[in-house]
């Protein structure tokens, strides 16, 4: 193995490096946009595509790792850490595929987390899809905000899905195969499908909430006019009643 010569980036102090010498002259790169520490190890063409045990242990320190070995390249992936063993001539393309996968995985995880966080709100808002009352008027702003957030989530998912569920490249390259294999291992297409179903439930509830709130708003406006008429009639009735009572008394 020889040191990888890509432009080094500094890993934060919280990412301990593998012990010196255990992985040869490896280089750890910190990709801040993905919160990912990437260990890149250059391999010779005649070497077996197997990550050193120390590098695998380093990746697995943050959680269970997915491992892939394909056409002389080896990858281990865990949340926050990844290790890549590849020939220097193919390193940049495979590294780019790895980073692209990391970006999509990050986006999908964020969407999943945001949808998961919305279930509590959904449960408390669900009754409003059936019945909207005066006391719920103060929640209209919150409902509108959650609906806007939902639309934004759906838009992000719709933009993300073509990257997760795209047809294989022909003729295949090592980088394209690494990307496909990583997406398969991460079950990204299935997860995106499940996410779509969950968003449908949210959309259905908030769509009904919006309808009920709109109906309430219209009724509320006309009710103000009705009340005003009632008040004027009550005043007129009071005048007539007092006049009648006073005249009978006299």
């Amino acid at each position: 193995m020889t040191p990888q010569t890509a432009a080094p980036r500094t890993a934060p102090a919280t990412v301990p490096l593998p012990a010196e010498g255990t992985c040869g002259a490896a280089n750890v790169e910190w990709i801040s946009a993905l919160e990912l520490a990437l260990l890149v190890v250059s391999a010779r063409p005649d070497e077996a595509a197997t990550l050193p045990a120390e590098a695998l242990a380093w990746v697995e320190a943050t959680g269970p790792a997915q491992t892939i070995a394909i056409h002389g390249a080896a990858i281990a992936w865990a949340p926050g850490r990844a290790a890549l063993l590849v020939e220097p001539t193919r390193c940049e393309a495979v590294r780019a595929a790895l980073i692209e996968f990391g970006m999509h995985d990050r986006d999908l995880r964020e969407l999943e987390a945001e949808v998961a966080a919305g279930w509590a709100d959904l449960e408390s808002d669900a009754p409003l899809a059936f019945d909207f009352r005066d006391r719920d008027a103060e929640r209209r702003a919150g409902l509108g905000e959650r609906f806007r957030r939902l639309v934004a989530l759906r838009a992000r998912l719709v933009r993300l899905v073509p990257h997760l569920d795209r047809p294989p490249l022909h003729p295949p390259t090592l980088a394209s195969q690494v990307g496909e294999r990583l997406r398969e291992r991460a079950r990204m297409a299935e997860r995106a499908g499940h996410l779509g179903m969950q968003l449908e439930v949210h959309e259905r509830v908030y769509d009904l909430c919006g309808q009920r709130a709109s109906e309430w708003s219209l009724a509320h406006r006309s009710r103000g006019l009705e009340w005003a008429v009632v008040v004027l009639l009550a005043v007129e009735t009071a005048l007539i009643l007092v006049d009648l009572l006073a005249s009978r008394g006299s």
Binding site: R135, E138, W227, V231, V235, L245
Partner: protein, 369 residues
């Protein structure tokens, strides 16, 4: 959650009310007018503020009570039923109070308890009305009152300087509507205003309050002050603007606008000054004690200073048991007795706070909630 500002204002109303009633009933009414109206002889005296403040705070408290029930996810039906029960309880208590304290002949004098009970029934019915409608109702109640009094011939009910109706259905109904001590018109304006203003002054956590109630109150106070001063300086108002003077009986336009403005300003100021300090300050604790038992104090203070008048007259064999009413003691002595009563009422209220003991408010909650 108790609001120290409401407790302090209610304590203020109780103190004013006790002093006024002791001095009125044991000594003499001040500033009787010959035209059937009773002047308070100086609009700056706070004595005429007690009843408006009480009725205004009834509206505020009702709104906060409804909010509390809604926050506990009580159904609309349960809230309505409890509101009606509370209103009927107060009306019933008011009639019992009239019979027991003011004797059976005055059962239909339409005192403040029967009025607040009626106001709770109306507020329960109007609970869902939009805030502008509540304001319209209050304005309509104030605006139509002079016409109603004119139609009903108000002075004929107040020939002796106090409300004295015939016990006929017509007079009783007129007393309830516009000529009694606290008739629906215009007094309903106070609880309606309190109910409408409460959300602005006491917003829910996380919401912003509104300056509108305080500013409206300030405009009302300034307008009333200008009107009173203009009349005192001899300026004549246009014919279409009939200034009635500052009278509580009947409640003149100036009096209603002025006291309503004072109540709105006092509530806004008290909220700004007191509610951030929390309920643990000494003032908040004392005020909370008086406020929690305001109904008990209201009933008790009448009993302790009015019953002795009747008992003394009956003991001396007088033909009329009210013979020494308003002439039993000098005003200064009556004032001293009022202060003594308040001093003794405080430990009594603390005693009632102990677990297992109930004042009249506790019985109301036990029956109605």
């Amino acid at each position: 959650m108790r609001q120290p500002s409401i407790d302090v204002l209610r304590m203020l109303a109780i103190v004013m009310m006790v002093v006024v009633h002791f001095v009125e009933n044991l000594s003499a009414w001040h500033g009787a007018q010959g035209d059937g109206g009773l002047s308070l002889d100086g609009f700056w005296r706070p004595t005429g503020l007690a009843a408006p403040l009480f009725t205004f705070l009834a509206g505020v408290s009702y709104r906060l009570w409804v909010r509390g029930r809604e926050d506990r996810h009580d159904s609309d039906e349960a809230i309505t039923k409890a509101g009606i029960r509370r209103g009927l309880f107060l009306i019933g208590l008011g009639f019992a109070f009239n019979v027991l304290v003011w004797l059976p002949a005055d059962v239909f004098n339409w005192d403040v308890l029967t009025f607040i009970g009626s106001a709770l029934l109306l507020l329960t019915a109007c609970r869902g009305a939009p805030p502008p409608v509540l304001v319209l109702m209050a304005v309509a109640a104030v605006g139509v009152s002079p016409a109603l009094r004119q139609l009903a011939d108000y002075p004929s009910f107040w020939t002796e300087g106090f409300y004295d109706p015939d016990l006929t259905l017509g007079d009783v109904a007129l007393g309830f509507l516009c000529v009694g001590y606290f008739p629906v018109f215009p007094w309903i304006a106070y609880p309606l205003a309190g109910y409408a203003a409460a959300p602005g002054v006491f917003p829910r956590p996380g919401e912003r309050g509104s300056l509108r109630p305080g500013l409206t109150g300030a405009v009302l106070v300034l307008t009333t002050t200008a009107s009173v001063l203009a009349r005192r300086l001899g300026m004549t108002a246009p014919a279409w603007f009939r200034v009635q003077g500052w009278t509580m009986f009947p409640p003149s336009l100036e009096y209603v606008c002025g006291t309503l403005g004072m109540a709105l300003v006092l509530m806004s100021l008290a909220h700004q000054l007191l509610d951030d300090r929390g309920p643990d300050s000494r003032l908040a604790r004392v005020a909370g004690t008086f406020s929690r038992h305001s109904l008990t104090i209201y009933l008790l203070h009448h009993a302790v200073h009015v019953w002795p008048l009747w008992i003394w007259a009956a003991w001396t064999g007088a033909d009329d048991v009210t013979v020494i009413w308003q002439r039993a003691l000098p005003a200064s002595t009556a004032f001293g007795l009022a202060v003594l009563f308040l001093a003794l009422a405080y430990p009594l209220c603390r005693w009632l706070d102990a677990p297992g003991r109930r004042g009249v408010e506790g019985w109301m909650r036990w029956i109605c909630d």
